[in-house]
């Protein structure tokens, strides 16, 4: 078999069904074999979108996403997508063509040192120089991407290696002496944690993306209900615990709910599960949760005690550890009074917005969730609309909220929606976008239309780079430096690509427009003309303590 055929055979055996890729000079031998390979192949209009789509596919399905690009610019265009997946621990395989192995280092046409470039943004990467190494490398790459703390792995494959011949040898298992992730938590630590939980009077569960990544949502719910502890989630954790559950506090952090932030600050025990104490979550570190003991469950030892000192670290897979922890809790803590305090906070500081004035972006999100019965997959770009989607959306199921949390990549949501829809075609998929973000990968409307990937894009169009404008309003004396946008006519633009465009500027037109979009068997751009200077509140200014929130009534 040729190197290209070996690669394709490996992808088949790894269970790959969908590939997002863009051809080019150094992947021609591979694309020749892809011509009649049994994959659904999606050709985006930009390699960055291939990476985000593979990422969105992975987030929606839990299976590793696969993207392919050629050498040089094709490969460098993947980088933002790879870094996005890396920051959010998403399993992904990126395959790049490379110039012929004897030309590497010669500044050949379309040559880039992509393993060098992606070293800090991949979990691991490979440059394959021998056709006999392909099968083992691909096997290892999938193993590394999907085990431990998941992440993207890049395989760089020179064109001549794609053409060389070798026998196909499939390694039945992967054995790496240097890579052995820990799944089971230390039993002694779990016992200690259980005792601490029993003694707590104001416990809170702080759940992150690791709960979704390890499919620990049922266990999380069992634990929360057993010990009657409130649950707050990070942006990445939304969907890990139903936001409609009475114990849910929604998201915490910079734009979290006031009751979540008060609760974590006043708690006496934080049970952190698959979360990493990001600065957007903790606020000012020295002032974070001063009365709390912290139990931290995470598969990545380097996440533990990195930002916040932890009292009981448990290194392991969230699901495995929770399964071991739940039966160890012999005495349930008495949280009655604590839940009472939280109920008062919920009553006193509800999420709210001013309903007078123009069309409110929060209302649009509420309507999308209501009309889809909270069963749609929502992806987002990055900015105000993302935070409104996090605050006002209801997420009942894991993998129903897909957003670039760590890297904060504008232009992520639309191609990610495309990937999510490919992975879960039965689902309604909405990209919640801003008028700025959507233009960072708007070319993918062509991909969606011609492949009938009927995602719906809700543009909360305020004519600004809204989040930056908000910071300029609050912290830079309203000096709106380069945040005003001149936008195209999104309706005509959608129509030009063969999609459907709907403009909405009145509240009463919101629900009918969403219903029409869902009923339309095509890609739909909804251009919601929202209140231009609406702000995201509450807000903890960067570097302040979590209970120093602005924008409370």
């Amino acid at each position: 078999m040729t190197g290209a055929e070996i690669l394709i055979e490996c992808l088949k055996r790894e269970g790959v069904e969908v590939i997002f890729g863009y051809p080019g000079g150094q992947v021609l031998p591979l694309f020749d074999k892809l011509y009649n390979a049994p994959f659904t192949f999606i050709l985006p209009r930009h390699e960055q979108a291939a990476a985000h789509a593979a990422d969105g596919y992975a987030r929606a399905t839990g299976k590793p996403g696969v993207c392919i690009a050629t050498s040089g610019p094709g490969a460098t265009n993947l980088v933002t997508g790879i870094a996005t997946a890396y920051m959010d621990s998403i399993p992904m395989i990126a395959i790049t063509g490379q110039v012929k192995s004897f030309l590497i280092g010669n500044d050949a046409f379309q040559e880039a040192d992509i393993t060098g470039i992606t070293r800090p943004v991949t979990k691991h990467n490979y440059l394959i120089k021998d056709v006999n190494d392909i099968a083992r490398t691909v096997r290892e790459a999938f193993y590394i991407a999907t085990t431990g703390r998941p992440g993207p792995v890049l395989i760089d494959l020179p064109a001549d290696v794609q053409m060389q011949e070798a026998p196909f040898v499939w390694p039945e298992s992967v054995e790496m002496r240097s890579y052995k992730p820990t799944y089971a938590g230390h039993p002694g630590q779990i016992k200690k944690a259980a005792r601490l939980i029993s003694r707590a009077s104001r416990p809170i569960i702080y759940a992150g993306g690791g709960v979704i990544g390890s499919s620990a949502c049922l266990e999380l719910r069992e634990l929360a209900e057993k010990i009657q502890a409130p649950v707050t989630m990070t942006l990445m954790g939304l969907g890990a615990f139903p936001s409609t559950h009475p114990l849910s506090l929604g998201m915490l952090g910079m734009h979290g709910t006031a009751y979540a932030n008060h609760a974590i600050m006043e708690s006496d025990l934080i049970l952190a599960v698959g979360a990493r104490f990001d600065d957007r979550v903790t606020g000012k570190l020295d002032a974070f949760a001063p009365k709390a003991q912290i139990i931290h469950i995470d598969i990545d030892p380097s996440s533990i005690s990195k930002n916040v000192r932890v009292h009981i670290p448990i290194v392991g897979d969230c699901r495995t550890v929770l399964r071991d922890l739940i039966p160890e809790i012999k005495k349930k803590p008495d949280t009655g009074a604590w839940l009472g305090t939280i109920a008062e906070w919920k009553k006193k500081f509800p999420l709210r917005y001013e309903t007078s004035g123009g069309l409110k972006p929060q209302y649009v999100i509420e309507q999308i969730c209501k009309i889809t019965n909270n069963e749609a997959i929502l992806t987002t770009e990055v900015g105000q609309h993302q935070m409104w989607a996090a605050q006002w959306g209801k997420y009942i199921f894991p993998r129903s909220f897909i957003s670039s949390g760590g890297l904060g990549t504008m232009g992520f949501g639309f191609p990610a929606a495309m990937g999510a829809k490919m992975g879960r075609p039965e689902k309604t998929v909405f990209d919640i976008a801003g008028d700025g973000s959507i233009q960072m990968n708007i070319q993918e409307i062509a991909t969606c239309v011609c492949n009938k990937i009927n995602v719906k894009v809700a543009i909360l169009n305020n004519g600004y780079l809204g989040m930056v404008r908000q910071w300029q309003e609050l912290f830079y004396k309203r000096r709106y430096s380069h945040t005003t946008l001149f936008n195209p006519d999104f309706v005509k633009l959608a129509e030009a690509y063969g999609a459907v465009g709907i403009r909405v500027s009145k509240k009463e037109d919101v629900a009918p427009a969403i219903e029409r979009a869902i009923a339309t068997d095509n890609v739909v751009f909804l251009d919601f003309q929202v209140e231009p200077e609406e702000n995201v509140f509450p807000m903890v200014p960067a570097g302040e303590a979590l209970n120093q929130m602005r924008g409370l009534a």
Binding site: T115, G116, H124, S178, Y179, D300, P301, S305
Partner: protein, 156 residues
């Protein structure tokens, strides 16, 4: 404070770049780094001397090193009894009079005169940090023109 950490890694191309990249990306300082093959040619041994302000940073460095897929083991020698050695080469200006003084000095310190020509001498010394420090201090009055160190290697 300086800490000596040893790392065994898969002997593959790019591994040094991964380790060095980790330090630069996270803003840690490498004071010295020595790399070589081990008895098993598929494994390389790195001895890294790091500057870490506090225990938490050292902890992070070790965890981040462990996280690299090609890293097999990480050993911290900070609180461990171990032996470390370094090789230094020192070039000093050296006329006939000075040479006698140098030879006298080298009777009290580690190091040997390994080359002496055209008014310069090269001293080679292998030893632990204390001995090397003492030698270099003793050499202060001489005019040192060049100084090269291999960086520490350590074994427990």
């Amino acid at each position: 404070m300086r800490h000596t950490v040893s790392v065994t890694v898969e002997n593959k191309f790019g591994v040094l770049a991964r380790v060095a990249g980790l330090f630069s990306a996270r803003g840690y300082n490498i004071a010295s780094l020595a790399v070589s093959e081990t008895l098993d040619p598929s494994i390389s041994y790195m001895t890294i001397v790091v500057d870490a302000k506090d225990e938490a940073i050292l902890e992070q460095i070790k965890k981040q090193l462990n996280k690299l897929v090609d890293v097999i083991t990480v050993t911290d020698f900070t609180k461990k009894e171990h032996l470390d050695r370094e090789l230094v080469l020192v070039k000093v200006r050296c006329g006939a009079k000075v040479k006698a003084k140098l030879e006298a000095l080298l009777k009290k310190h580690i190091g040997a005169l390994v080359q002496c020509k055209d008014d310069t001498a090269i001293i080679e010394a292998v030893g632990g940090q204390q001995e090397i420090k003492a030698l270099l201090e003793a050499l202060q009055p001489f005019s040192i023109t060049e100084l090269i160190r291999t960086g520490r290697i350590a074994l427990a």
